[in-house]
Subunit: 462 residues, 2 copies
């Protein structure tokens, strides 16, 4: 281990510079205007894998954006670990809320990151985290080699629901064959409290459009006599929650797994201050489903949120117009055993059923994702627990996250392997938000922890 540490400490500056260089590429998968940059990022990842010592590195074509593959097969009798991550990032807007340009990374000290944090889109989600595995791999390769077989699959469409990763995995089952999948795309409870994510929420994402008159109308001449699509959309969206903030879609909760009182009691043990939580977000008060705690609302319960809405005149000044249509992006976070496709169907059916006769309604489904759970008895989890506990000097604890990694269920189905979510980010890293950042210390703690995980995992499997 100390040889690992010495190597990492001796190459600190380069390992940091290489990440910053990768963060300068605006690989936004949601916006086709950035396609060239996404492809550039893929080539860069392949180059890093080659330099780190991976064999058969290739940028694999898909019907969408490419997947970067690389491997190091040392002994077919040893276990095989598939490292998964993504080199694409969320859109950066609202740009104006960033303190520094999203694709010009800068390192600044913060209260939670006294050693400094890297501010850039993708710093934590997921360039900073998947790149730890590339650097950890390099470290092992330069210090006696990897203790078992390693494969890398770094995709470019995670932020748009891994649109084509299923297509790729189904066509490469042999090549991707593995015993476990190791992923760093989640967070831990606190800077000094290591934790491993054992559950994730699923996702159903739709875009809705409510259309009234065939053109924008003068609100004086027509106001009061024709349905205003914005008002109607607002009424329809408002009706999706009841007074207890339960979701009103028929059948929405039918397949929701009730979490045991024991597990809820265990969750309640996790260090959490409601006051600190509210203060960190400048919130006058929290909100949520009646009968559940804030931690539960954000992890073991399904949700419905409008992610974007637009209609009518949104420029400067006042325009007295009745818009022809209004649109919204709506996502639902799902929990075991809700099925995204079924929920999308239930939403569509319900949303159309509540549309008044004075408008027409369109529902366009985006990507979805299944909820996921990994048992704490899995050898990969035990290895993660031991490795993190060692580097942080504190017992790592299991936790459920509210986020989604839609592809995990497909991995299990196609490759028969469970995914271990050993993430090093913090909730406060502002992923998907302006000023996303990732602690420099977290980055290097990750690079140091991953080789330990491999050692522990080989022992567990031995």
């Amino acid at each position: 281990m100390s040889s690992y540490s010495n190597y990492i400490d001796g190459n600190k500056d380069r390992m940091l510079d290489e990440l910053l260089e990768l963060l300068r590429i605006p690989s936004v998968s949601a916006d086709s205007d950035y396609k060239e940059d996404v492809l550039k990022a893929a080539d860069k990842v392949a180059e890093h894998l080659r330099n780190a010592g991976a064999d058969n590195v290739e940028v694999c074509e898909t019907p969408g954006l490419p997947v970067v593959y690389g491997e190091k097969i040392v002994d077919s009798s040893l276990p095989t670990v598939l490292v998964y991550g993504h080199y694409d990032v969320q859109p950066a807007d609202p740009i104006e809320l960033w303190d520094s340009p999203p694709f010009e990374p800068v390192i600044k000290k913060t209260a939670l990151h006294p050693d400094g944090a890297i501010f850039a889109r993708g710093a934590c989600d997921d360039k900073g985290q998947f790149f730890m595995h590339v650097k950890a791999f390099e470290t092992m390769m330069n210090n006696g080699g990897v203790p078992c077989n390693v494969k890398f699959m770094i995709e470019g469409e995670e932020e748009v629901g891994s649109a084509n990763l299923g297509w790729y995995v189904e066509r490469n089952r042999e090549k991707l064959n593995c015993d476990v999948i190791l992923i760093s795309d989640t967070g831990m409870i606190g800077p000094d409290q290591p934790s491993i994510t054992t559950g994730l929420r699923g996702l159903s994402y739709v875009e809705v459009k409510v259309t009234g008159p065939n053109r924008d109308l003068h609100s004086g001449l027509y106001g009061g006599a024709v349905a205003n699509p914005i008002n109607i959309l607002n009424q329809m969206i408002a009706s999706l929650h009841d007074e207890n903030n339960h979701i009103t879609i028929d059948g929405f909760y039918d397949k929701v797994q009730q979490v045991s009182d024991e597990e809820r009691a265990a969750m309640a043990q996790a260090p959490f201050s409601l006051e600190a939580y509210k203060a960190s977000l400048d919130l006058p008060d929290v909100w949520g489903e009646k009968g559940y705690s804030t931690i539960e609302r954000a992890s073991i319960r399904p949700t419905l949120d409008v992610n974007g809405i637009w209609g009518g005149y949104i420029g400067k000044g006042a325009k007295t117009v009745i818009a022809s249509y209004a649109e919204a992006k709506i996502s639902m976070r799902l929990v075991p055993d809700q099925d995204p496709e079924e929920i999308t169907e239930l939403f569509t059916k319900h949303f159309k059923s509540i549309a008044p006769s004075c408008v027409t309604v369109e529902v366009r489904p985006h990507h979805g994702g299944e909820p996921y759970v990994t048992g704490i008895d899995h050898p990969g989890f035990r290895a993660a627990s031991k490795a993190m506990s060692a580097t942080f000097g504190k017992e790592a604890i299991p936790m459920r996250s509210g986020g989604s990694i839609p592809i995990l269920s497909l991995f299990e189905r196609e490759l028969g392997a469970k995914s271990i979510l050993m993430g090093f980010g913090l909730d406060s890293d502002a992923i998907h938000s302006p000023n996303e950042h990732y602690g420099v210390r977290n980055y290097f703690m990750g690079i140091k922890t991953i080789p330990l995980w491999f050692e522990e995992y080989v022992k567990e499997m031995g």
Copy 2:
């Protein structure tokens, strides 16, 4: 009269070209980016007044955009008519819905305009209509002169609530002193059914902002645990109407004048086909306040419409974010005797009172306007009725409009004169909408009718 007609027919092409030239100037008052164009339009209007024979023409400075003044005083013992109009226009967006560029006027035939209509922003509202008065004035000046004193006051801020016209009028009472104000900024019932607007609705316009967390959040990590400002704004807006589409703001209807059964019966006589109305807007059904007809809902009843709403991610693709805030532009059309300032206060008080504790709410008032009514016994109305009936060969009928001309009440207060609303537009002209247009025939019918109005008015006052 025939001398007028001969002159107009002999100068048709020029009179049309001059309007098209004026329409090419994007004088959008709501957007400060167009300020230079607004000023350019003001100078052009002044130039046309001078060429038509007006004296003391000036572009008058205000704290905002300028007012163009001009006059022809022939005999102080004769009545004085103040012509009011505006050279500013609404913003053109959504640009993509225009069939031709909004500031590159083209003439196309339509079902309602077999002689062709001018398609351009401002074609009808109000460049096409106020310019008829300039051309009618030119016609009179070149055919024996005007039969009474005429003053012109053409402003550049009507589309932003005549923000500074009050300031101007208060400081120029003497100069603007008149017996009646003549305005063409409204419509008539049909291409062959002349009508004169006797009532207008008032306006209260506010911008609201609902703020939740201090930054955009990941909808997976926070979804369900913090209030989503878009969902909350939607709920607040939805609650502003009840199941009968009555507005729920406390005290909102207190000062609404109940229109007599007689007047409601008279309104019901106006030619109107609900099926044709729905067909012209491709509406599956109409909407509105229970207990009132479509015509009543759009004229004698107050309304509340969202004119624009925005929040969260509105770009391409899917972004799983909870926005920090959401905003909306909301306007209310008012009827006698509602007071815009009082309604704005009632709205603000009510909107803040319904805000849940999990968000903060901001209400920013925009301009307002008072409702207005002119009696059908006014000499100016009788003159309009006779003039229109003569040119159209059909009895002109009085009507109430749902639109607003906020400044009329101020004219009455400051100048002690009533306004006559003799407009030549059609509801189908799509003012404030993409593809705004104005019939070439309507334009020339206006130029021919206005000199007759002056003759009739002088007789009425004789």
